[in-house]
Symmetry: D3
Subunit: 67 residues, 6 copies
Amino acid sequence: MPYVNIKITREGVTAEKKAELIQGVTKLLQDTLGKNPQTTVVVIDEVDTDNWGIGGETVTVRRKQGL
Amino acid sequence: MPYVNIKITREGVTAEKKAELIQGVTKLLQDTLGKNPQTTVVVIDEVDTDNWGIGGETVTVRRKQGL
Amino acid sequence: MPYVNIKITREGVTAEKKAELIQGVTKLLQDTLGKNPQTTVVVIDEVDTDNWGIGGETVTVRRKQGL
Amino acid sequence: MPYVNIKITREGVTAEKKAELIQGVTKLLQDTLGKNPQTTVVVIDEVDTDNWGIGGETVTVRRKQGL
Amino acid sequence: MPYVNIKITREGVTAEKKAELIQGVTKLLQDTLGKNPQTTVVVIDEVDTDNWGIGGETVTVRRKQGL
Amino acid sequence: MPYVNIKITREGVTAEKKAELIQGVTKLLQDTLGKNPQTTVVVIDEVDTDNWGIGGETVTVRRKQGL
């Protein structure tokens, strides 16, 4: 019954990679905590790099700096 | 003063249906808990079916299986 | 399959009221959007009045002012 | 190490204003709580006015009423 | 730089299990999407069974039914 | 009308500091984006150090290492 929300920057992750991530986190919750995979919900939010900040700067700015 | 976040898959819900949902949940909080509707905030997030997983699979895959 | 998160201030809501709220919001999503109630998840967060602000003030302060 | 999520309506905020907001909230957490700005994460969600409700109405409807 | 929020019911998960979950999800994001583990943030919320609903019922009620 | 959620580790922040943070972030949204402070909502979540991970480790472990 767990609910997992994963936020990542929107930088071209494929549907296949997202499916792999959903499968992996569902299995991890089963293996670690014994949670039923049938009722595990995973929601991935992809966030524009202008809207994500770390260290007081947007990721857009950091990418231009090669970070 | 409640804050409600509703996450649903992005599958063509109309603006009218979303308005109805916002009205309904605001009224429910008033009727059930006596909350002031004027300060009740409701935010609906529509999530791509590639980004929503249940049972370890994306909703995109489940829709193809008729689920 | 919807996921609903309801945040309210922690001010003595009973388990019965919370159960009523969960039932109500699940039914509302079924009636409004045709969502399957069996997979609708509702999570209620109760937040201390010191940790909730509106209008730049905490709810603790507002309660003392009779708001 | 704080994580801040800011939800606003999607009404044309520029990248510059978002960068300013990220910088400001990061500095505020440093000044108020002594948090390390290098590990402060800020995520801004811009929400369609059809998907944001207050007072039981969508912001789309309120904007038409001049609110 | 990903941010992951995991919500589970509060039913006695140990600190060791939570550490294992944090390690696992951080590694998964590195292996699947190439994310830098040093800046991956994971927050676990443990929610009272009275405050978690599925199928229109609280988990408290479901646990009494052996679900 | 913005909604701000701030997550910090639960490490003894006083009610006064939380009130200052709420006031500051409300003012910042007014100054930066012209948002009405009367309808700005701020919710602070304090998270146990066992439940917060960064770099694949819990904050509890990192605090013991002097990080």
